[in-house]
Symmetry: C2
């Protein structure tokens, strides 16, 4: 399953932290002990630990060890690129998706142009989905899947998980994204769909890319302001841009 030794070790450590085998405030076994435990060289162990550090799961302290960080902050950062379906599974919420629209277009729909002017003339699949949590409409996801590289998009994939379809059926490697969070005024239609008191919604706009740097998806997610929460873990950067 695991593609590499490093990620297998990292995943195993994450699982053990999740299941409280290593608890917040405690130290992980030392790198030498982990070498024995996993039969790996020190650099291999260190690469695995680096990924846990990036995730905000541990903090390494020189001369002492790797300490497991608290994540009982109610909300654990699940940033990175995740799909709604994946977030649901992880959070265990009663969620529902209503597909409002799915159709092929020759040009970028007008509602996207303001945010993605560079794709004005691109063909793609226009998809709108309303996300309900506990019966409440919380998010309107508007997607535009660029074609190429996406050739087809079955309705049932839209209802369950596009990412699952693209990665497992179409064998596309989803790699990275740029996101922008802002607050915007929405039209009457969106206001009604999300049952908003006023015209303000939180907008998350993102451009999503494959591993070969092909842009494949534009997303506009409109969130009810009172339900929106974005949680992030950040490390102080040593590199100045």
């Amino acid at each position: 399953m695991a593609q590499s030794k490093v990620s297998a070790i990292a995943q195993d450590l994450v699982d053990k932290i999740k299941h409280q085998q290593y608890k917040p405030g405690e130290y992980l076994p030392s790198e030498h002990q982990l070498m024995d435990l996993y039969g790996a060289s020190r650099e291999t162990i260190r690469k695995a630990l680096t990924s846990l550090t990036d995730l905000g799961l541990i903090q390494k302290i020189r001369g002492k060890g790797s300490i497991v960080l608290n994540l009982d902050r109610y909300t654990f950062p699940i940033s990175g690129i995740s799909s709604f379906a994946e977030l649901n599974n992880q959070l265990g919420l009663k969620a529902e998706t209503k597909v409002l629209l799915l159709q092929k277009e020759d040009h970028l729909p007008t509602s996207f142009i303001k945010y993605f002017p560079e794709e004005k003339n691109s063909a793609g699949f226009h998809l709108e989905r309303l996300r309900l949590i506990e019966g409440q409409a919380d998010v309107l996801d508007c997607d535009y899947l660029l074609s190429p590289p996406i050739n087809s998009l079955p309705k049932d994939a839209a209802e369950t998980s596009i990412y699952n379809y693209l990665e497992n059926k179409e064998k596309l490697e989803i790699s990275y994204a740029t996101k922008e969070i802002s607050v915007c005024k929405v039209d009457k239609r969106i206001q009604d769909l999300l049952q908003l008191d006023n015209k303000l919604a939180v907008l998350v706009a993102s451009r999503n890319y494959l591993a070969d740097t092909t842009k494949f998806e534009l997303t506009l997610s409109y969130h009810r302001p009172d339900k929106f929460k974005f949680v992030d873990f950040a490390r102080r950067k040593k590199i100045k841009f």
Copy 2:
């Protein structure tokens, strides 16, 4: 200056990308060429490239090379933990800071308790600063610097850069943070300070930590919704939590 060979190489590559010596869409020199260029081993080069990958500056493609990504998206992600002073320098805006309040407290002020109940009884320095950009009040930063570990906080540090003071004068190593972005209702005072039409503001709440895992700062930043923008770069995570 550079603490390590890896970060010196990474910084040099970043600088060259910034100055268009390596342009978006082009490939960096191969890892072997970079080995010769910097007189480093391959793993050392690769660690430097990994940090550029994490920053979203390059994408590595197997069998081909490391391609410089587009960042002419107007807004380049400068997330991570950055201070207002640092963001200004990088963005080159005409900004101004007004210190509204700076005083020692024995307990957490009430306005913080809702978001940081766990620090209710902690002593610290309460600091409020209004951030003006081009003459417009855009952000109200409310900080609470926990004492311990912070023993003193001069007024001029508050006016310029707390982080500069803490890192260079107090020799504290600022390491990581958890942030939460949401939308909240503010009281009349904040509404007036930010000249808001209504009571809604974007709130960024964060807990900031030192390298030894000591929590040292709580922050509540209230943003004008029409001026708020948060830009992020994210990679698809291979590790499931």
